[in-house]
Symmetry: D2
Subunit: 277 residues, 4 copies
């Protein structure tokens, strides 16, 4: 790979610490981003946020505009979901990150959220990358399900070129021939990205595995490989979730994940700040 | 695969012949869609259109808004390209199809073009699918580079549910572990789609192979497998093209492709209408 | 790809017509190799051979040593199957090809069969390639399920270097992320191989699709792309087959395939010799 | 996945600790297997063994029969290599594991080595699996480069059914569309295997990444995901190696890997026994 293809994102451009609502990503401390797949109701979101915060998460995630394969599946609450995210984020002191699905949604998402997520299905969508990059908000860019590392870096370059200074990359598993796990977490890719780019890299073990019982082990692997943090789906009652029921953690599982992650973090010279209860 | 997941697109909903600017796709006659990867200039486009028409093509393709992996690559002429497409299409009597990259572009593209293309990078982008479906224009939907057949059919269902009656599917090769060819044309997928959906299916041998010398053989394979037509990149001077220089055919190669395709078409009970010169 | 990596197999080494029991592969005429997945009994094999011959097949295939994923699945009749192949082949005038699974089996298989098949699971197994190459028998080399074209050519080179002059390559579909079809027939790969190597290339539409209803369309695609022949699984009663029940053709389907193939063959300047009944 | 397909390997059959030359795999302590890709000379192997032992490795690896894609590449020293392995293993007190490429080699390999490796290219080769299983030696079974987890477990079942009680699984990276790394280490697969089977699971970060600078991070990820050990390529002078020069670690890098692994091991409740120097 020729780093001259992405001069703004390249490693020799330095090391970037991205700040999302006061929380730093890419510094010595790891970040835990957690929350439900979809925002479903105020009660659900508040419960998710409180348990995320209790587990040590410092950023809240949740989908308001949901990209779904079937047009008959739940598509998210839309702007109502954004408003709930903002309200619950303010109430719990957690900055929020959520996805924008099209350029025209970017200003609205930027108004409510502290960071804009570009989802895996959209990593190749230049107009959306540009709109996010021009918005002034930090951008969490997920790797496409079959995007090469170079394509991910060129997508990041597109955002940076559009004016953003704050891009976080997210490895979320790639599509392979084996469907036992939903995707395959590319830990070698995480390690490679840390050498190729100045941008922080987080991992999404939820989409990478698609199976609740494997999420924590994949999370530990990502941290061991050098990831700067995690974005994890958790829900007060996963079995009642309107999307991704199989891969969302319970509050207890999330707390357990955080405890185990914090031990591995120390072993690799990082730290996951733990809540003082 | 459970066809009840896509009731509007399913086979038992009948057989659909889609009309683009008076040209039927999905009937007994095959359709040849040809033209340059990118609209570069009026002269280039006119030359491409004339040679396409001479070869038997009845629809002109050309990109005005180009989805590119690198933000530093040529991004297309934009609306100027759309205007050139319309003018050259009218001049040569060829309806035109071109890509829209975001929902907000759909009305503009629909104004200039006879059909809207949804590109491979965008097959999963629900807002764009919906906007195209609601536009009233026919839609040419390309399979995502790592989309399953079911995901392609659900994307078509999204367009149909948004109000369109006219969707053409396009198999353009899928991403595999072997990079000798740019992608792998899924001829079994073409045959399967013809059994799974009422919608016409065309093939793009240019992106499927990425190598000029292999385009015609892949085109013949697609027709033999049951495709209803082809969309082929051709350029007056491929080596001078501003994008996809390696895979665009010369006028002579396109004419040769059409001649060979017409023979295979007859062998499988179809026909590629040939120009009367 | 650098053809100097496989000097014996390379295109500029000429064009090779391989002879199997008097039947030429790689000349102007296409070859149809047909027969059951597994040899199950004398009656089954004779019925299969007669219907294969009636359809125009000139070589009989059938597995005696079956490579199976599960150790609990039917593993073939072994040497008894070889003897049946030889007897039925002699009776019907059809040369036979069958698989050897390990170097030590090669002499035995060579004694009974007119050509030795190296299966997809074994394409990378150097000792077997060498043993087959040294046997003096023609070798039918199937592409590994995730082997690149270059790896296939290097496997062929290994056989040639071991002393064989008669190697036929077989594209049998590659493994991808989509499991609707068992594999994906790489027609671009067929076209590429014809340009890269002097060796004949046949296609296996049965394993490429894994679905009876798609086999013929895939076969037509392979011929249109330039394949020199086909190897097709057919069984007197597919639903009663002890292996690959879903993809074996009935005698009538095989005859239909042959008829349709012969028309496409003529359209691409080849010929499938038809039986005079 | 239905565990009844592999009753001998299934999880509910218990938990197996495999012993190789007195070293336990699958118990509380992790195992580090290290050594050169190929045995090249007595001096090279002794230097590799001493540095492996100094780093904490308790089993020596090294290839005598090398499976190579090109027939023109170095194929290993053969029986001379086996003898060197035995001699150096005895001298340094390290049991040795090395690959057998065909059934007929199994007795020879079993005579010299403490465990027989089945390589990735051979995971599907039933006769070799059976021969290894019947040999009485422990077997290190590497996952095929595009084998599903279920196929790996069925290959293990084949070995167990042939009589072995001692099988160690090895995840060594799977083939994907991205060639920046040689393969993609499937950490979710490691975590899944630990739940699906009673057999120990080790990881090969060398082949998984193919890049020296990424090997250690991938090794840490594997341990964090639950692997019972590592098999790592290391060479006294990697740049002079006759195979896999890009991915072999220097003695210093191996020692560094071991130190970092031991810290992550403790964080996940395991231990990598460290050498007392």
């Amino acid at each position: 790979m020729n780093a001259s293809a992405f001069p703004l994102a390249a490693r020799d451009a330095g090391t970037t610490v991205v700040e999302i609502g006061g929380v730093e990503i890419g510094g010595p401390a790891l970040v835990l981003i957690a929350g439900p797949c979809s925002v479903e109701s105020e009660d659900q979101l508040r419960a998710a946020a409180l348990s995320a915060r209790a587990a040590g998460a410092t950023i809240l995630r949740g989908g308001a505009f949901k990209p779904r394969t079937s047009p008959y599946a739940f598509q998210g609450l839309g702007e109502e979901g954004l408003a709930l995210l903002r309200a619950v984020g303010d109430e719990t002191g957690l900055p929020v990150v959520t996805e924008a699905l099209e350029p025209a949604q970017v200003p609205l998402v930027a108004e409510y959220a502290d960071a804009i997520q570009i989802g895996s299905r959209n990593m190749h969508v230049t107009p959306l990358l540009r709109a996010a990059g021009a918005s002034g908000s930090p951008v969490l860019l997920k790797r496409g399900m079959s995007a090469t590392l170079e394509e991910l870096l060129l997508a990041a370059e597109t955002i940076l070129l559009a004016g953003s200074e704050n891009v976080v990359l997210c490895e979320r598993g790639i599509r392979t021939f084996d469907s036992y796990t939903r995707n395959c977490l590319d830990v070698g890719g995480i390690a490679a990205l840390k050498r190729l780019t100045r941008l922080p890299v987080v991992a999404d073990p939820s989409h990478a595995t698609g199976r609740r019982e494997l999420v924590t082990d994949a999370a530990l692997a990502a941290i061991a490989a050098g990831a700067d943090g995690l974005i994890v789906e958790a829900h007060p009652e996963p079995e009642a979730a309107r999307s991704d029921a199989d891969q969302q953690l319970t509050p207890q599982e999330l707390a357990d994940l955080a405890g185990r992650v914090s031990r591995v973090a120390l072993a690799v010279g990082r730290e996951l700040p733990q809540v003082v209860s």
